[in-house]
């Protein structure tokens, strides 16, 4: 961006994208809020998180450094312990997707394009202006964005993630690369990682996780909340202030408990209960959720890196010293992680099978973004395993472009009808 | 020795001037006579001897036949409790004492009392060499007594051979550890008795060793008896005489009286001693239709002691080895950790073979 023409062009693109983005956000939000009359008071907080923020305001205090991460593999405990704000910048916006397409190949995953576009146009969640973007070497497409530092104009730090997680070597390699990351972050933030701070941040995240797990338990008990709302909650975790997020979730949980006591359900007992997995849904890409739930179904569990995978797994430390805490934190992002960039990844199948049982789901919708190779590759194996276990599976492929919903609606409708039929015959048999 | 003995003799003479016949005491010994060394086997910490059982292979050998008369063939594989033996010896010093036999007519009482105070069978085998044969089934100290009386002029000699036999095998566990301390004595068997007092922390693993002080106590009908003359003889001929004090106690410290190179030192070697207690009591007593004015008690006990721990065990060396090992292991760990600080260097190739 050396010459004036480029800067002008950049500003023009940014302006139009911002307008498009705001339109997109408002439209999806109104769909989420207004199309479903049964409202939860506790959700207002989370809805508000997603409303566009004014240009010169930011969610993050200026005196703190902001560290952005591109995937769930980044140990956020360490970021918080070093006194920085953490923001995950994966984007689901179609508007930034088109912006990213300017300098990225057309056939790659929309999430990557959208994220790259958002970084390039400085349109990150909460108007974050990250001092460092940590880019873990997960899928090839995300990996390669890191090489576009010049073009995107931000500093990237490559966090090396091993391609496998089962071997001892992988674990050692990962521990080493997390330790290296700590050193880098120490130099960026100017703070030293201490025992007390890390312990405090681990406990802070554990508190959030405890609240999240309580939330999931309530979701399991009765259909008192829609999946689209649940997805928004975990989505807000990407960029929200952790303590207020936990507090808001606690209030919501209390409300859900009341609903359970009153038997105030959002859907009837015959509604198909679906499990959603595959490429992650990130606001404002909430199409699958919205389609399913508008058609009378309910999403009971999401196996996404934007939801359960990010929050379920905990840190357990034996000795509260850095020598044990750092590896413990690192392990949480490696061992239970079901990201398809790891091979083998049988844990994901087991996790889905368990969730099917625990959440009493009737079927699975496996969504793949066009160009997302890893999820696409895994869909076959997972589909087979689940069908073996007797669950109906629907594979859908979608883009961030909201216009191709027509065919999707038909397929989802048919799938849900068949589930309803199955349920009916089952009930008759009993 | 001689001075004490002279004094003693003097005292004895003062009171009972007619008492001139020196009585050679009879005592229980754990040492086998030369002729039997091949057919006996020592076992346990106290090295008690038992007759070697004849197994099928060796049953035809002469030795086996000679001494093992009872149900030889059948018992070979049918194992009951081991039969231990103690020999009978007569004499004042261990060196010169002879192995003796009683003629059948001799009037004697043989008793074995278990640690719980029950009477157990004990029998006298009469062959070329005589020995008593018994079993040790319970855990603890058994008391064996051989008492015989003999009248001479107006004195009734009462020779009491006593043995305290410890029955303990680590094989059977250590559950009765604390019962090692109480000492049992039996006034109903013999009114005069000498007991060895137990040490405060004594357990079944105790064995006197050189340097240890032992306390013996004389009892008459269960009450402490002062003024009993006690003589202790050791294997090498050393002897000591003394009298029990007003509590009836007599203390003696055993000292090793032989020395060898440490290579030849056997820490399990037992050096035997023989204790003899003399006491004359004026007492009108009838025995075998004869009246006697005095009773002369002669009580014998034999046991052993081992070389002192300091002869073969060195705590200083122990500490040195311990500290060196500690330093080496600390250094080893330190070096290992230092080496680990250089990462990526752990894989090395051998480049010696082109």
């Amino acid at each position: 961006m050396n010459n004036k023409i480029d800067i002008d062009r950049y500003n023009r693109v940014k302006k139009t994208t911002t307008i498009h983005y705001n339109m997109e956000v408002n439209q999806v939000l109104s769909e989420i809020i207004d199309d479903f009359p049964d409202k939860l008071n506790g959700m207002t907080y989370f809805y508000d998180r997603f409303r566009p923020i004014e240009k010169n305001k930011s969610l993050y205090p200026k005196e703190k450094k902001t560290i952005a991460s591109m995937c769930i593999h980044v140990p956020v405990e360490i970021i918080y312990a070093l006194g920085a704000s953490s923001v995950r910048i994966c984007s689901g916006a179609y508007s930034t997707d088109t912006a990213g397409a300017d300098f990225l190949p057309a056939k790659i995953c929309p999430l990557v394009k959208s994220t790259a576009g958002a970084i390039y146009l400085d349109m990150l969640p909460g108007n974050a202006n990250p001092d460092l973007i940590i880019n873990p070497t997960t899928c090839d497409q995300k990996k390669k964005i890191g090489e576009m530092e010049d073009e995107i104009g931000k500093e990237f730090y490559v966090l090396e993630v091993p391609p496998s997680k089962d071997s001892e070597e992988a674990r050692q390699y990962w521990h080493r690369s997390v330790k290296k990351m700590v050193k880098k972050l120490e130099s960026v933030t100017g703070n030293r990682l201490t025992r007390r701070k890390l312990k405090k941040s681990i406990k802070m995240i554990l508190t959030a996780q405890a609240e999240y797990r309580r939330f999931m338990k309530l979701r399991r008990k009765a259909p008192v909340i829609f999946g689209k709302d649940a997805q928004l909650i975990t989505n807000a975790y990407f960029f929200d202030n952790l303590n207020s997020w936990t507090e808001a979730l606690a209030t919501l949980n209390d409300e859900l408990e009341e609903r359970i006591a009153q038997k105030h359900h959002v859907v009837g007992p015959r509604a198909p209960r679906l499990l959603l997995t595959g490429s992650p849904s990130i606001f404002p890409n909430m199409r699958t959720h919205l389609l399913i739930e508008k058609l009378g179904g309910i999403v009971v569990y999401e196996e996404f890196c934007s939801s359960s995978r990010m929050l379920s797994d905990t840190v357990a430390v034996d000795e509260w010293f850095l020598y044990d805490m750092v590896p413990a934190v690192a392990d949480r992002y490696l061992k239970p992680n079901t990201c398809p960039n790891f091979t083998p990844n049988d844990d994901r199948i087991r996790k889905i099978l368990l969730a099917m049982k625990e959440y009493d789901a009737d079927g699975i919708v496996y969504q793949t973004f066009t160009g997302c190779q890893l999820y696409d590759l895994e869909s076959r194996k997972i589909g087979k395993e689940l069908e073996k276990a007797g669950y109906p599976v629907l594979n859908i492929e979608l883009d961030y472009n909201p216009k191709d919903s027509g065919q999707l609606t038909t397929r989802l409708e048919a799938f849900m009808e068949s589930i309803k039929d199955q349920k009916r015959t089952k009930r008759k048999k009993i | 020795m001689s001075r004490v003995l002279k004094n003693q003799i003097l005292i004895v003479f003062l009171f009972f001037s007619f008492q001139a016949v020196s009585q050679e005491p009879i005592w229980f010994s754990n040492q086998p006579p030369k002729s039997m060394e091949k057919v006996v086997k020592a076992s346990g910490m106290h090295r008690y001897y038992s007759l070697q059982r004849t197994s099928r292979k060796t049953k035809t050998t002469n030795n086996g036949k000679k001494y093992k008369k009872t149900k030889k063939g059948k018992t070979a594989y049918k194992r009951s409790a081991t039969k231990y033996v103690q020999w009978l010896r007569k004499g004042n010093s261990i060196k010169e004492a002879t192995y003796i036999c009683f003629p059948d007519s001799t009037n004697y009482r043989l008793k074995l009392m278990s640690p719980t105070g029950k009477e157990e069978p004990i029998s006298l085998e009469q062959n070329k060499t005589c020995y008593v044969k018994f079993e040790l089934n319970e855990e603890g100290y058994y008391n064996a007594y051989l008492i015989f009386k003999k009248g001479q002029q107006d004195t009734l000699y009462q020779n009491i051979a006593k043995a305290e036999l410890l029955s303990h095998s680590c094989r059977n566990g250590h559950h009765k550890k604390l019962e090692a301390r109480p000492v049992r004595y039996y006034p109903e068997i013999t009114d005069f008795e000498i007991i060895r007092l137990r040490h405060p922390h004594e357990d079944y693993h105790y064995f006197a060793s050189s340097g240890d002080t032992e306390t013996f106590k004389a009892l008459m009908n269960g009450k402490p008896l002062p003024g009993v003359k006690i003589t202790i003889n050791t294997e090498k001929g050393w002897s000591k005489t003394g009298f029990t004090d007003k509590n009836g106690e007599f203390k003696i410290q055993f000292l090793q009286d032989y020395f060898s190179n440490w290579q030849e030192l056997d820490k399990r070697k037992i050096h035997y001693y023989m204790l003899k207690a003399d006491y004359i009591q004026p007492k009108d007593i009838q025995y075998k239709n004869k009246d006697y004015k005095y009773v002369h008690y002669i009580l014998t006990m034999s046991d052993g002691y081992r070389p002192s721990r300091t002869m073969y065990a060195s705590m200083v060396w122990g500490l040195i080895v311990f500290l060196i090992a500690m330093i080496i292991s600390i250094a080893g760990i330190f070096i290992y950790k230092e080496r680990r600080k250089r990462p990526y260097k752990e894989i090395k190739f051998n480049e010696s073979n082109n």
Partner: protein
């Protein structure tokens, strides 16, 4: 309702703290109990060392070495029954607590835990074996077990025409066992720190014993439960661990393989996290300290059972109580507080 709450109370409990106190009490019983006229028998599945003057019992390993110190002839005669009898007594003791004898009762294990506490208070880092060393070194305890059985036999019997071993080799394991040298020190008895110059065998064995004692102290300072990894008692117990009443059960379907359990494991067992097929997850190095159950956040993935009754299982709530116990979480669980209050009123 009340029963469920008791279960919940146990599942939320801090077992490690409970274990600390149990260990403290057992240490006193097994090191000083003899002075208080406690006698427990000499076939115990722990290092209740008879060389300790105040020990109320005996370690079965000593018994085994003594019993096998006899000829074939004796072993296969009616006297051999006593060997089986004492094995039976050992098993009777053993099956109640299974390997929890090591984690909760063994005084030598407790001592190592205390050394670990000392290290922690000094802020030193611990070490772990890497995978290869772990696999290689874990064989040592079986070798020691085999030796402590074979050497006493070889003293009295000739194997393959080889000469019989010297009697100085009797109770070979006790000679090198760190419990013999270190535990009596707690009774103020230093008599076990010595080199026996009787013959070459005793010199070697007693020096080895002191070296092991030194290594024990240094090793357990840098490695948690250093000695347990080589303990032949642990190997012997593992041979019978399947019949133990107390069991550690894993539900592989619920496991996310997050590795919490294997990280907090003092011995460093990785199978507890990675093995999703076995139900019975007690491994030979396990000492059933139950830290893994404490660290498991997955509802019912790990369970401690007596016969078929769950007595302690991994729960979400318990996990967060122990690891994330911030006030925020506690206040948000309103109904729990209410329930426990009700319970008290009853």
């Amino acid at each position: 309702m009340k029963k469920i709450n008791i279960k919940k109370y146990i599942n939320n409990a801090n077992v490690s703290r409970f274990r600390f106190w149990i260990q403290l009490i057992s240490f006193f019983i097994f090191v000083y109990g003899g002075y208080f006229f406690i006698e427990i028998g000499s076939r115990l599945p722990i290092f209740s060392c008879p060389y300790v003057p105040g020990s109320p019992g005996g370690c079965y390993l000593l018994g085994v070495q003594h019993e096998l110190n006899s000829t074939w002839h004796t072993i296969f005669s009616p006297r051999g029954i006593s060997i089986l009898k004492s094995l039976g007594i050992f098993l009777l003791f053993f099956i109640f607590l299974n390997k929890a004898w090591c984690g909760f009762v063994c005084p030598l294990g407790t001592l190592q835990d205390w050394i670990t506490r000392l290290r922690k208070s000094l802020g030193f880092s611990f070490t772990r074996y890497d995978e290869m060393s772990f696999k290689r070194l874990k064989v040592i305890k079986y070798i020691l077990l085999a030796l402590l059985i074979l050497i006493p036999l070889a003293i009295n019997n000739s194997f393959f025409g080889l000469p019989k071993l010297s009697h100085s080799m009797h109770t070979p394991f006790c000679k090198i066992c760190p419990a013999r040298t270190i535990l009596p020190l707690f009774n103020g008895d230093t008599s076990q720190i010595y080199i026996d110059f009787t013959d070459t065998t005793t010199i070697i064995l007693t020096s080895l014993g002191l070296m092991v004692a030194a290594l024990f102290l240094v090793g357990s300072f840098v490695k948690k439960r250093f000695f347990c990894f080589f303990c032949p008692m642990s190997a012997l117990q593992f041979l019978f661990s399947k019949i133990g009443l107390l069991r550690l059960i894993k539900n592989g379907d619920k496991c996310t393989r997050c590795g919490n359990c294997s990280r907090v494991c003092d011995v460093g067992i990785t199978e507890i996290a990675d093995d999703i097929l076995s139900k019975n997850i007690i491994k030979d190095d396990c000492m059933m300290c139950l830290k893994c159950v404490e660290a498991c956040p997955e509802e019912g993935a790990l369970k401690v059972k007596v016969l078929n009754f769950d007595i302690f299982s991994a729960t979400e709530e318990g996990f967060f109580k122990r690891y994330g116990g911030t006030s925020k979480f506690e206040t948000s669980n309103k109904d729990d507080v209410l329930n426990s209050n009700k319970n008290k009123d009853e």
